[in-house]
Amino acid sequence: MWFNNISKDSDVVISSRIRFARSIEGYKFPHILNSKELNNIITLVDRAIDKDEYKLFMMRDIDEVTQNALKEQHLISKEFVGNDNGAIVANADNTIVAMINEEDHLRIQAFESGFNIDKCYDKICQFTDDINEKIKFAKSDKYGYLISCPTNIGSAMRVSVMLHLPALSKMKLLNKLFDQAMEIGISVRGLYGENSDSTGNIFQISNQKTLGVSDEDIIYNVKLVVTSIIEQERKAREALLNSGITLEDTIYRSYGILKNARTIDNDEAIKLLSNVRLGVSTNVISDLSLDKIQTLMINIEPNTLRTILKEEFDEKEENIKRAEYIRKELI
């Protein structure tokens, strides 16, 4: 899985992702196709992929909990959950995951841990070029790739980087940074909603514009913004750690609760894990690895937790199971 590898800039960057939207020539867009036509699309893609490397799964064959777990792992969109006419194409380690019949015929995604946009780009181009030999994409000289939502045409590419920004957030410096990013066409979103305080301090940076900009320029712009945010976050962490015992205290308290709690809901766990992640990446905590934390942050999500424990349970029980699971992992 992309999230349990640790690589360059992992202290701040959680993962990088590139998404291409593509339409298959000669077909209307998915939202006005009937199920027979939608099936044709899946067949076309199925024939075009290299079966040694990629597998195709029909969405209707995947149970609801697993579908939601895939959403929690950011591998499929929340709109795609429950789409019975959809399919997923993925390689073994899920570094390439394509959704078929989401908003477009194809939404191809490449994932890497850490700050690895170039690797994502190479991989996604390779996959896309390969299937492009068998499938013709709808494209025009004027507008580039023709896809169902006109706001994404042109390169039809979205480059996103997921960042952990607890120090900038604690110092209330995020809004200023995000304003600057927006000015050059980069959007920022909180992963667990807009209110950053209670929710893990994870943010997604991505390009807004897709038309009239080359892939290279899009990537360059995102890299530029991410690089400067990484630097700022590191400076903020240093400043906080040097300004007294408070941050260290918060980190150790969070670690203590996670190691001892008997019941814990998802929000609290994410918030505390965010503090512990900050502790691990600043070497305040040394008996824990970053990949363990990263994996935990995903695995404690409600549906993912159920797929890992291979059990069914209600919400009250869920919090007990979550606490148990975290304690076991943090021993």
Binding site: P150, F178, S214
Partner: protein, 160 residues
């Protein structure tokens, strides 16, 4: 910029409104946007609402391939098929200019795209200049002289 609804949180969602031909751009935080019911903004690919002038809507043009109209588009934020881009090109050009600041794709032949990944800086520069020169031609064709002049300055900088 602060959210125009609550005035507290940062605005991260743009909403285009068109009331009787008067276009307005509104900025909201995600919370307010979802409270006010402006569709789904959680996904980074989700459509922004776009201004379509009522004048265009009155034309009532239908896409020959899929039967879609501009009204369908303004309702769903989606087009029906690749041919819609031809059918509604004129209206879309205005819209694209508003969202992207541009309304033409940068042409990059697939072959060159592959090469560019292993291109040297010098080669990349040459390619970029060629690309910009094509752009000037397009701009002059469209009588957008001011922008053409800007691109010419860009080329001069690169050639230095």
């Amino acid at each position: 910029m602060k959210c125009q609804s609550c005035g507290k949180k940062e605005a991260t969602v743009k909403y285009y409104e068109n009331i009787n031909g008067i276009k307005k751009e509104l900025h909201f935080c995600m919370d307010c946007a979802s409270k006010l019911g402006f569709a789904e903004f959680s996904d980074i690919f989700s459509p922004m609402f776009l201004p379509i002038s009522s004048y265009d809507l009155e034309d009532n043009i239908k896409c020959k391939t899929c039967g879609y109209t501009l009204e369908d588009y303004s309702r769903t934020g989606l087009l029906g098929c690749p041919d819609c881009y031809d059918t509604f090109g004129d209206s879309l050009d205005d819209i694209f200019y508003k969202i992207h600041g541009k309304n033409r794709h940068i042409k990059m032949p697939d072959k060159l795209k592959k090469q560019s990944r292993s291109m040297s800086d010098e080669e990349a520069k040459k390619y970029k200049i060629k690309e910009l020169k094509n752009k000037i031609k397009d701009l002059i064709d469209e009588e957008r002289y001011e922008e053409a002049a800007k691109v010419r300055d860009e080329i001069k900088k690169l050639e230095r």
